[in-house]
């Protein structure tokens, strides 16, 4: 389970970096969203001492099971909201750029020179 989780994380991170480096602005924006997701999953993995255990377990009082860390999930929730906000802003700016410059190729959005 750990291995597959790590593999999924790695694939997501790699996909995110690859998309971020694309010339198409929409794909690059999606790349940041994928990267944020992969980091959130990494965060999640750090909280669950065994990856498939819920945050609150009944048997915890008996000392039979280790619960996963609830603090991580609170932080991920915040991080998801934050990344969602900046992704929405990024997409809206890209929409405005596509109407003004009539292109989504980042090479052609280059009026800023000195």
């Amino acid at each position: 389970m750990d291995f597959f989780f790590a593999l999924a994380l790695g694939i997501l991170f790699g996909t995110g970096v690859f998309q971020l480096l694309r010339r198409d602005l929409i794909k690059a924006a999606m790349g940041t969203a994928i990267l944020f997701t992969s980091i959130n999953l990494f965060f999640l993995a750090s909280g669950a001492f065994a990856p498939d255990v819920p945050a609150y377990v009944d048997q915890y009082a008996d000392g039979k099971a280790t619960p996963s860390d609830p603090l991580v999930q609170a932080m991920i929730l915040t991080a998801v909201v934050v990344s969602f906000g900046s992704y929405a802003l990024l997409l809206s700016i890209i929409t405005a750029i596509s109407t003004r410059y009539d292109t989504l190729n980042s090479d052609e959005v280059d009026e800023l020179k000195n």
């Binding site: 971020l20 602005l25 690059a28 924006a29 940041t32 990267l35 944020f36 980091i39 990494f42 965060f43 750090s46 909280g47 001492f49 860390d69 603090l71 991580v72 932080m75 915040t78 991080a79 934050v82 990344s83 906000g85 900046s86 802003l89 990024l90 700016i93 890209i94 405005a96 750029i97 003004r100 959005v109 280059d110 009026e111 800023l112 000195n114």
Partner: protein
Amino acid sequence: MENNIFIIATIFVPYAGAALALAVPKDMQKRYLALLASFIAWIFSIVVLIAVNEDGTQIYRLGGWEPPYGIVLVADHLSALFGFMSATIMLGGILYAVQCKDKSITSPSFMALFLTMETGLLGAMYTGDLFTLFVFIELTVVSSVANVAIGDSRFALEAAMKYLFMSSLGSLFLLLGIASIYVTFGTVNFADLARQLAISNGNEPLLTRASAVMLLSAFLLKSSVAPFHWWQPDFHTAAPTPLSAVLSSVIVKIGIYGIIRLTSLLFVAEQALIYRWLVMLGVLAIFFGGLSALRTYNGKRVLAYSTFGQIGFILLGIGWGTPLALLAALVYTFNHAFIKSSLLMLMGVVASRNEEHSADLEKVAGTGRKLHWSIGLLFFLGGMALAGLPPMNGFISKFLLLQSGLEAHEWLATSLAIGGGILTLIYMMKTWQLIFQQKPTETSAIVHATGGDGYLAPALLIAASLLLGIFATPLYKFAEDTVTSLDNPHKNYIEAVEPDNWRALDYQPFLGG
């Protein structure tokens, strides 16, 4: 320790002001409301500063939850100094916005976003844990990007997009660093982290150094240091004047704050290694910034590149690592905020009186001769301060920095810093002469007699710079106390935050070393 309500009040007042500014219908009401909110926040930041000066570190536990699980706001000497500086410059920026004639200021959400930016800035300075720091930094970034994107500059959208991409990447690495820290130590609270890092001194678990690198690069990106700076001149030039004044003077200082916090409190064991890098990056930034400012043809862009160079001086002070050098870096940070914000505002004042509303040096050349003499005088004083000539406050900060460099026997870096200082003098002289002494061309001679932004805010800030240059003792004394308190984080930070029933060290690291 007792909760100090003024820390949360300083952060909350601009936020409440932002909500009210959205509700108020008329444009001028929004502006005066924002002015009022930032003034109250400024008063509260002074209260926090005085409390810290008299009684040492102040804390506020949000919702009464104990750290390390609850969020705690901490105002030690460093936070109080940076918070006061930020609140002052934000007040100046909003005062300028009240008198500003730019069309983008009349956008209904401008003042609200300005205030949420202040919330994020002050929150980032006062917070006591890494994750809240991340959230507040993102708040600052998102509100400043939205504000620049609605601006009336032709390049605003492109600059906003560029910055949002770069800064999302920075935030990603900040979050990844925080996650790595959490994996290793099971906490994101500064005090708890510092305690555990001090215990594991020299024998850190696996991910400690990696997370140090990720956090540092995120902070370097936020303060636009050499390899991460490409967004900065574009973004600060395309912003409306009141916004670019605060962006270029205090928002970039979030990174400086983070770097000082990381090296003095958390990663003390790696301090020497980080310091060596900071000195190299600092020298690179001084020359890159100075030379780029020389070959630029836009007044605001000259000042944006100059920020990039001046951050290099601050990094030198942090990187030399002696108490005097750190003191010089703090004084430099504080003084630079006043100088740079007032200069950018003055550039906006000149550009707004120009026919084309442009800060382009070709179009603005000679405009200054048609303006009231006081604008020229203010600009001259600001240029002197930036170049580090007496009696302005820039002289104090440069003098302290060079003295500390000589005392630390850093001959090479000190002489390079002197060369960079001369570059500053050259480009400020060039800009001043172009605007205020050159013969006006046909287009630049046309000056709006009635229009243009008011210049009360830059005048007050320049007066503050002059006063800080003549009466430098209070700032010097407080910076001295700050260095002393940073020298002993255990007594001044960890014990102040630590509750009596600090949990036992029962956490089993997921990825132990």
